[in-house]
């Protein structure tokens, strides 16, 4: 049942992407429908649906948070770059994530790469190595905040996210 749901959901998303790519051209919709079904079939075989379901509302909130933070990130790096003294204090930082394996961890690592001052270097099990532009920034708090948002997107409860060793 979960497989069928994932199949329909993915087919819907792929069809939307097809519609966007062809800029809504009606002559391409039928061939698109066939291709979308094939691609959705392949996608469900190659990437079976995981137990982490996306929460649409939380995902939207995450998109807003992400946009805001990535704008801050760009401005922050630009400011450091343009100031004559180049104020940097680079270094590595090891953080432990309490998010479960798979999608959530990847989303966290990729999100942190675009957040102010952090770049994910290596993801090994639950430990994530970050490269930081400025170690004086409150990076740990930022990581926890991003972690909570990611947990929200996947519908993981706060308690289960904080239970695991951190």
């Amino acid at each position: 049942m979960a497989l069928l749901r994932a199949f329909c959901l993915r087919a819907g998303v792929f069809f939307l992407v097809w519609w966007v790519l062809t800029e809504g051209d009606p002559s391409g919709l039928w061939s698109g429908a066939v291709i979308v079904l094939i691609v959705a079939l392949f996608s469900c075989t190659l990437y079976p649906p995981s137990s982490h379901a996306l929460r649409p509302a939380a995902a939207l909130a995450f998109a807003g948070y992400f946009t805001l933070r990535s704008v801050t990130a760009g401005l922050d790096v630009a400011r450091r770059l343009l100031s004559p003294s180049i104020p940097l204090n680079p270094g590595y930082l090891l953080v432990k994530t309490s998010l479960p394996e798979g999608g959530p961890r990847w989303l966290l690592a990729n999100t942190l790469s675009l957040m102010p001052g952090t770049l994910s270097v290596r993801l090994q099990g639950a430990s994530l190595e970050l490269h930081c532009l400025d170690l004086d920034l409150p990076i740990d708090e930022d990581v926890r905040a991003a972690e909570r948002r990611v947990a929200g997107v996947f519908g993981l409860s706060e308690t289960s996210a904080e239970e695991s060793p951190s």
Binding site: T22, S70, L82, A109, S113, L119, R122, L133
Partner: protein, 106 residues
Amino acid sequence: MIESFVLITQVLLMLAGCFFFGVGTLGLFRFSDTLCRIHALTKIDNLGLGFIVLALLPLAPSMAAGLKVVLIWVVALAASATSAHLVARAVRSGVRARMEKGNRNG
């Protein structure tokens, strides 16, 4: 009146986008190590592309075309985050020498 306002906004957004792309490239020269350069390239270019996408949106002839422009931004974002991570990992693992050699050849 409204048209000229939209046009001016578009031009300003476009200029902001180009400015950030320029600054991102400047980061390649001003920052001294590879990882700081990646910081500059991924984050500032992401911002520059975002501004250019915003500037292009009012020009889109249809809803689908507008979404296509936004889709380009989203895909570029995912690609830049992933490639930044991969380059950073390669640097950390100490294959820097091989990578620089590859850059020279390419």
